[in-house]
Amino acid sequence: MIDPISVFLLLLSASTPILFAALGELVVERAGVLNLGVEGMMIAGALAGFAAAYASGNPFLGFLVAALAGATISMLFALLTQVFLANQVASGLALTLFGLGLAAMFGKPFEGVRAPPMPMGPLRINWIVWLGLAMVPAIWWFLNRSRAGLILRGVGENHDAAHALGYGVRATRAAAVAFGGAMAGIGGAFISIATVLQWTEGMTAGAGWIALAIVVFSRWTAPGVLAGAWLFGGVTVLQLRLQAAGVDVPVQLLSMAPYLATILVLVLISARQKFSRHAGGAAPGSLGINFHALR
């Protein structure tokens, strides 16, 4: 018999890395920037966080370092796209490739060692899971109820208008990218410190890309991101349960499920936006377009 509470706890744990990364990317995209480097920032956070937790014995210090590492590496992307006005798609890809390489290069000494144990929070749920859940209303409030969030959305919807009103388009965007990097770093570190408990090369296994898809699925809202992350977590847990139950399907095919589910969800939500006239929740108006003020 499958105990529903334990399944839900597993779901929470499986969805947390994606939740952090997707919430971060949500803020980035609402500022009008498409950062495809989520995977690279996650793996950087996974390694830096793991290394710090292992060296200090304190997992929370690990998460802090992971956030810093993610934010630092994201500044490369901000520099390229905001200062050098480089193509955002290409720059994001470069960030992912660079992050994966860098982590593989510096990660060798940390292979085969275990992360320090993570103290449990209330209800025997990891503190970082709680933090992730708390970030959902916090980011919703920031985007929809705070003045800074209004400016950020303005920059994302129409950067020329925001600039004309005197708001710093590039500074806002750079700050959003840094926040996205920190969140992706925490998400990556959750995989290495709290789930797998060790470091392996390429351990994020596409989680960053799934997070990007979930931002589309959420129709650029924080509650939507939570729903997407839980959906993904549910598919992952189901797939693992089926593997454990010894279903007569090859393991390699079962493990495709999260990726296929992501494609399916992406198709459904895109179709809804394409065919429904008042679906709302479209992408930010200036998403992926660089800003250059002539004067």
Binding site: L36, L76, L79, L80, F84, L85, A86, N87, V89, A90, S91, L93, A94, L95, L97, F98, G99, L100, G101, L102, A103, A104, M105, F106, K108, E201, A205, G206, W209, I210, L212, A213, V216, P250, Q252, L253, S255, M256, Y259, L260, T262, I263, L266, V267, S270, A271, Q273, K274, H292, L294
Partner: protein, 358 residues
Amino acid sequence: MIQLVPRQGVSNGWQIATPLLAVLATMVAGGILFAIIGYDPVAAIRTIFWDPLFGPAASYSRPQLLVKAAPLILIASGLAVGFRAGIWNIGAEGQYIIGGITGAAVALALYPLEAWWLFPVMVLAGLAGGWAWGMIPALLRNWFGASEILVSLMLVYVAQRIAAWMAFGPMRNPEGMGFPGSRNLQQYPSAANPELLTGTGAHWGVVAAALAVLATWFLMSRHIRGFHLRAAGIAPRAARFAGVNPQTLVAFCLGLSGALAGAAGLFEVSGPAGQVTAQLGVGYGFTAIIVAFLGRLHPVGILLAGLLLALTYIGGELAQLTMALPAATVQVFQGMLLFFLLGFDLLTRFQIRRSIAA
């Protein structure tokens, strides 16, 4: 104050100069990185960029240049066509894997038949497999508006798992004593993709890469479809008013780049790799993206960029052997190269002027 003034057009001089600048900057930054992690920077750079061509072991490593460059150039030629039109196929790695599997499937199904037509049919199957895998994101974008970037990327992970499944399941060598992996196609004369001229490393994939460079050059600069693609990339709305159907372009670009990536996979599986394994995808599909950008999305540039990145692979392996440099160094190098290129690209589109404070 320093000010950026947009140029009227793209500067041709800087178009050629920026990739060279980016390579130089990568060498300098790479050297600094090596010094930080405790290696002699000059020796490391020389081992990666010089020794594979002119060093003591060059006679072994030189043929490897074509072996590594062929898949990169083949894939990048197709990708560049799409990138020109603003259609982002990021999943060439998946199309490469599927092309390798479908191509190998023909040979494994007909084993031990010996016939002259077997290898050409395998090539067709590889092209078709890659094409079909590329058409999935194309159709999902055309029908439902789903992002081809994310769908093609997700399909890489799916393809990797199909490769693992094939290697452990349906395609496992019945005479392989239970080890995962298919029969070795190098030992199956009709299906093998051998070195055509001894000592050059040139196999059929190299021939195909050369043809792809010529064909994409013709397409992009002499054919109306190429003109449409470039127009759609520069001014999508204008292109649509001129009667260019964006859906046709999406299907064409993803199909073409998928097919070329699939062919690259087939040449690899039947040649240097020899068999279908779980590790069929070795990252050529991602590195080819860097090749396409470094080559300025131009066929001739891609040819040169493909050779350069092939050099970093071989040099990286050499440095791993002789200097115990970490294997991931190459990946870091390639990522840095793309960073510098994108940064320096500013010079092709903007002039840097000192503005007089008004």
